[in-house]
């Protein structure tokens, strides 16, 4: 059928990452052998990345509905109602493998991809967040990756004029061969003007617009569904280069197209390019598409149908216009200097038919390509090493002696240290909505034309997920929500990016299944639906998997923007309160890793009830205006949280004098343990009694632990039942310097 008749050999099938059974299924669907173009199209659409073949049966368990949900999973992005006729459209995507191969372009095109997912829905993107995982900064290769990825995110996001308002970076050598680059984007759309990727209306024109098609990233989707090995170098020529300027034009053109009454459906060309956008749009509408490649704008001569259908050139879109509106669509695209061409028509026969120079080169039922891919309920079981990880004899670990030194080491540890030198490279203020810039628990942007603001955070403690995938995932949800609540926002929706190893391994699948269960239980408890997401498997190199990293991006709503809260102390003389109970929770802590070089133990136990009660309480007191700052306790525990309250304000640093009872705890557990459901508040002195009483009434453990002020950071730990007390006493400036410049110092090594 195709111009070059290439026999489909066993080798060719294997090179396309298709199993024998999958190939048989293809032959069954077609009723014949596929040609090479068709084989390529099936291989990308049935890749793990596009078909979710190993994850789908489990993803179904996640709660995706709720009164605010306007669009759940299945479209380019999810959407939740925020009132005023508006909705927040958001999603998170991974670009892990490309970023390892070429950090700048990999990260840049990752940003480009997620932005397109948002604006194809008719939403103007207003915020980006980046969640990153790298190996330790003592390796030159990791420093190179960090610099490249950060520059790539900056290069693309800044040029687009979408602020990068927050993110997360964790350093752990497990990510040395598999860094993670997850990018979250949120946009705002009118609730009744959301656009979907559907090819409705037989006879409607299918229009290609954006950049020209080149030979980039052919087989990107199958690469993202493949483990790395030493041969990966050979896949290098498939690197895609981002062109943020063209994407900016694409964004403005799309929004202009959508403002008119022109479109039926629209979808970006992400992974699997022209193939995925056409077959998915057709399948959603139960239609077919007749596609003619002859007029597809191309960058290079001599491209084959195979290449055109599989190219992952960036900054391209496919729209289905209302019949008769082609000219207006073309005019708008040309106004924005974009390439544009009518490349097909919607048909009623359900077939994606591809022609080139008059010849049919592929003919596949659209639904089979898009939705009838294989599904696997892969076997799962806990790994043999799991008990070894969780069993930790704490008696063998000496309690902390020099608490000053321990605190400084933690503040300096890159995972905890300030990320300022990173986010200063991101334009985090463009669009003039950023109320809380990077550096507090969550980023907050106001919504112009309303009183409202949106808070956003990305979170995941992957060490907890390694030690106990179910608990780890529940904690990730709880922590994300806690970060929002501490910013004054009510959590309203969630997106995820599930980064795991090879799903064909039962131990990895076990991690995945348990993490899903944990997310499900926590989301149901907090009544926060998951409206979009992404799965990235095969984050494994030479058999070594990353820690399970179900990254979460959570969105919260602040009804009245003046109720926005930040984490840092505001005023000398204010009282410091601790809410929540501190327990013997050293397992999986950053303290154990940094001071004892152990990543072991059981992660803290989370009570969903206690956590929810805390959220409700914090929101109440913030909304009543009696709180001056709120900060959740996470990595590094209570003393790190307190130190951050003192040193993280953009302008002024403040000291604090704190006194803590030890009771029956170890000193290190009290100071650095990571018990969940705890928040540090600062309040005017005269409000202390009121708040403590209200906390008691709500059943939330609460006590006054100190006072803001001075230029030293002091924690007095009183003698306990079984241990001596101890004291942290350091100049605030020293805390600040260790914390603020640690990453910069580490990166400046060459």
């Amino acid at each position: 059928m195709g111009p070059v008749i290439q026999p489909i050999t066993k080798d060719l099938i294997a090179q396309h990452n298709l199993t024998d059974d999958e190939y048989k299924k293809i032959v069954g669907i077609l009723g014949r052998e596929p040609n090479i173009t068709e084989l390529g199209m099936f291989s990308v659409m049935w890749s793990e990345h596009c078909s979710y073949k190993s994850s789908r049966v489990h993803l179904k368990k996640l709660p995706t509905t709720g009164p605010r949900v306007v669009q759940g999973p299945g479209e380019n992005a999810g959407a939740v109602d925020i009132g005023d006729g508006l909705c927040a459209v958001f999603k998170m995507e991974s670009h892990n493998h490309p970023s390892f191969i070429e950090p700048y372009q990999g990260a840049a095109t990752g940003v480009g991809g997620i932005l397109r997912d948002i604006f194809t829905m008719g939403a103007r993107p207003i915020a980006l967040l980046d969640a990153l995982r790298f190996g330790g900064l003592d390796h030159a290769k990791n420093r190179h990756l960090v610099k490249g990825v950060v520059a790539g995110i900056a290069g693309y996001g800044n040029c687009m004029g979408v602020p990068t308002v927050g993110g997360e970076i964790v350093f752990n050598d497990i990510y040395s061969q598999n860094p993670l680059v997850n990018v979250f984007c949120l946009g705002i759309a009118h609730k009744d003007k959301i656009f979907l990727g559907t090819a409705a209306g037989v006879g409607n024109p299918v229009i290609y617009f954006g950049s020209k098609t080149g030979r980039d990233g052919i087989h990107g989707a199958t690469m993202a569904s493949d483990s790395f090995d030493d041969q990966s170098e050979q896949k290098r020529p498939t690197v895609q280069v981002g062109d943020p300027f063209t994407e900016k034009l694409l964004l403005e053109a799309c929004l202009e197209l959508m403002a008119g009454d022109l479109l039926v459906g629209i979808q970006d060309m992400g992974a699997a390019g022209l193939t995925s956008s056409s077959c998915e749009m057709a399948s959603r509408a139960g239609n077919g598409i007749d596609l003619d490649l002859t007029d597809v704008p191309r960058r290079e001569p001599g491209m084959t149908p195979y290449e055109l259908m599989l190219s992952e050139s960036q900054e391209r879109m496919l729209m289905v216009a209302q019949a008769g509106k082609e000219d207006e669509c073309i005019r708008i695209c040309k106004k924005w200097d974009l390439d544009v061409a009518v490349v097909g028509r919607v048909t009623g026969d359900g077939i994606l038919r591809v022609r080139d120079q008059g010849k049919v080169v592929a003919e596949i039922p659209a639904k089979s390509l898009a939705d009838d891919g294989p599904r696997y309920d892969r076997p799962y079981s806990p790994p043999a090493y799991q008990d070894m990880l969780t069993n930790l004899n704490y008696d063998a670990l000496p309690d902390v002696k020099d608490a000053n030194a321990a605190l400084l080491s933690l503040l300096e540890s890159p995972t905890i240290a300030s990320k300022r030198c990173v986010y200063e490279q991101y334009d985090h203020m463009v669009r003039t909505n950023t109320m809380v810039r990077p550096g507090s628990d969550a980023a907050v942007v106001r919504i112009k034309g309303t009183n409202k603001a949106i808070a956003m955070t990305v979170d995941c403690n992957s060490r907890y997920c390694l030690l106990h995938p179910y608990e780890g995932a529940r904690i990730a949800v709880a922590e994300a929500a806690r970060n929002l609540v501490c910013s004054g926002a009510e959590p309203i929706g969630l997106t995820d990016c599930l980064n795991f190893g090879n799903p064909e391994r039962p131990d990895i699948m076990w991690q995945f299944v348990l993490a899903i269960e944990g997310m499900k239980d926590a989301c149901e408890h907090f009544k926060v639906p998951i409206v979009s997401g992404n799965v990235s498997f095969y984050n494994e190199t030479n058999g070594l998997s990353i820690y399970p990293t179900p990254m979460l991006g959570m969105v919260g709503l602040i009804d009245s923007a003046d109720q926005t809260m930040t984490q840092w102390f505001k005023q000398d003389g204010d009282a410091i309160l601790l809410l929540g109970k501190t327990k013997e929770d050293l397992g999986g802590s950053e303290y154990l890793k940094v001071l004892h070089h152990r990543e072991q133990g059981s992660p803290p136990l989370l009570s969903l009830d206690a956590e929810k009660a805390l959220h409700d309480f914090i929101l109440n007191v913030i909304h009543d205006g009696v709180v001056r700052s709120a900060h959740d306790c996470s990595d590094g525990g209570l003393s790190v949280a307190l130190a951050e309250c003192c040193i993280s304000a953009p302008d002024a640093r403040r000291g604090a004098v704190v006194r803590l009872p030890l009771d029956t705890l170890r000193r290190d557990a009290l100071l650095f343990g990571e018990s969940q459901s705890r928040v540090v508040l600062s309040v005017k002195p005269e409000m202390v009694d009121q708040i403590l009483n209200r906390a008691r009434d709500s059943g939330i453990p609460a006590m006054k632990i100190g006072t803001v002020g001075g230029d030293r950071f002091v924690i007095d730990v009183e003698k306990g039942q079984w241990s001596e007390g101890c004291r942290i006493d350091l100049p605030v400036d020293e805390l600040h310097d260790r914390w603020a410049y640690s990453i910069e110092r580490a990166l400046s090594r060459t």
Binding site: E102, Q105, G214, D216, V239, V241, F245, R299
Partner: protein, 79 residues
């Protein structure tokens, strides 16, 4: 010795800079101009008399730092 190094994008790799400049030249009325490619040019003094050794050094510099060999290729002259 002085090394003159040219780093350019590999064939087939998108060159957004070149594209933008081409477009600008066109709208400035330079209708004869086309196919613009943009690269980097570097001059490095190499304090090494032996040409063979100097060449090896320059090559190593390019591979390690000056060119991103995943998307770029390089060439150099020594004088």
């Amino acid at each position: 010795m002085k090394a003159k190094i040219h780093v350019t994008l590999k064939q087939g790799i998108l060159d957004p800079q070149g594209k933008a400049i081409e477009h600008a030249l066109d709208s400035l009325g330079f209708k004869n101009a086309g196919n613009v490619r943009v690269g980097k040019y570097m001059e490095v003094d190499v304090d090494e008399k032996d040409k063979v050794k100097a060449e090896a050094e320059v090559k190593a510099m390019c591979e390690k730092l000056l060119a991103n060999t995943i998307v770029e290729e390089y060439r150099y002259e020594l004088q």
